[in-house]
Symmetry: C3
Subunit: 201 residues, 3 copies
């Protein structure tokens, strides 16, 4: 398994895991647990692809990820109970930050490939990174957490997306631009988490 | 009128009817009653078609169904009051079960025609069958009922969709596969309703 | 700047402004304020374009409007506080009515260009005019206001859309049909507001 494949699976699992937890908190049944986990993991990329009119969707090409979440949903309750003891909050935040970086920059890249102008491309990257959680909260009948907790989550993605766009503009080698921007987002997110930074309201 | 046309109209009416009732319970006005009924009746198929990038949408081709719901919304209050006395819960559950079977399998069939792999096709069938109600509940600001009541509604659709897919794989005559799978879903749904089966949480 | 450009910007600003206010009422942070304003301003047209499979989206072509809302979100709190004192409710209602008229008829026109039948085209116009507010309310975890306040907001759009469709059918000059129908919607909306008309429930 390549490194990127491993990171991808980790990021999807973290998304699905946060969906599992939210769905259980809402006392949902098996169908709800699976659907909410699925929406959290793939919702951001799916919305981006609908806005860009890109097909096939990510989870259609990678059917195996959809099946993985399905299997996990079937065993969700004991898995979550076990994971709660094994997995520390620190590990979840790290994996989530890595996912945010990777998916945001990948979203920008997809938007550029579809011919989007720069500002729109930066927004598409943020949408890819955060709208899984937004849709999860809407389905769970909550005001989306990312819109109200004042933590600079989307803003880390936004800044890193512009780093990536600027690198592209000034001829930096594409692969390096992608990885360093993703790393920048993940690092910035972890720093703001470490020091518990908040935006003013 | 052919049989399939009749069943189709019945299924749409049942969807719209459940939208009417939910919208009235939320004290919505005429615009809300129409919109929620429309979303309940056509939301599942519309979401599927957006995900598959299929156009024109069902209710664009069959404009007459949209107009029918519009007219019903105009007379909704007295109609619902009357129907409550005429239509038994049993009849609604039966019509809804028939609709679930028919639309789910039709959703799988549309997904296969769009080149989807098997698991995705089975999911598209479930989406077609249940997301009208999911979107209704989101617009009405509720946690979707189908995600939390523990009744095996989506699961009946899922199992029947796989029956249909397996029949296709083993060369069963398409029309027979479609009808028997739809019947299987409707029958299973009615059985689980009859015996009030619940999934564990 | 042409007149239509000016009206367009006014209508978008009014949409964004109502998003700002709702997001602040929900105590959202910068990310929420921007996203909700954006969804309110562009949500209706975006949903219409997704249903019609039209691309690029309006806010992709007019990136400058997205940037404008972004800048306004950055200064939203003081701006809203200032605007509250400068801008009367009357002015907001007028600008909103003008936007409703313009966007509804533009939505019908886009739907006709995409080959939609008449009733569907009239619905697409209403969707363009009202779904920004509907999506705003869903994200803010409220039952959409336009579905429950009994004010004939969507109905003004619906009637004006049919005026436009009928003018087209009877060979009225397209530009005149568009402007007079938009004016009809705006005027009707202002009249019903002036006399505080309500629909029965």
């Amino acid at each position: 398994m390549t490194l990127i494949k491993f990171i991808e699976i980790m990021a999807i699992l973290v998304g699905a895991f946060s969906g599992f937890i939210e769905a259980r908190r809402k006392r949902m049944d098996l169908v709800g647990v699976f659907t909410v986990a699925f929406i959290t993991a793939f919702g951001g990329g799916t919305l981006r692809d609908i806005l860009l009119d890109r097909r096939p969707l990510f989870w259609v090409i990678h059917q195996e990820y959809a099946i993985l979440i399905f299997v996990l949903a079937l065993v969700a309750s004991p898995v979550i109970r076990t994971l709660r003891h094994i997995v520390s909050e620190r590990l979840i935040v790290i994996a989530d930050a890595v996912g945010l970086g990777l998916f945001s920059v990948a979203g920008v890249s997809a938007a550029l490939a579809a011919g989007m102008p720069l500002f729109i491309a930066s927004m598409m990257g943020v949408i890819t990174g955060i709208f899984g959680g937004v849709l999860r909260d809407i389905v769970c009948n909550e005001v989306p957490m990312v819109f109200r907790d004042g933590k600079p989550y989307a803003i880390c993605a936004f800044l890193g997306n512009w780093l990536y766009l600027m690198m592209g503009k000034y001829g930096v080698e594409p692969d390096f631009a992608l990885w360093s921007s993703a790393l920048f987002i993940s690092g910035l997110r972890l720093l703001t988490w470490k020091f518990d930074l908040r935006m003013g309201r």
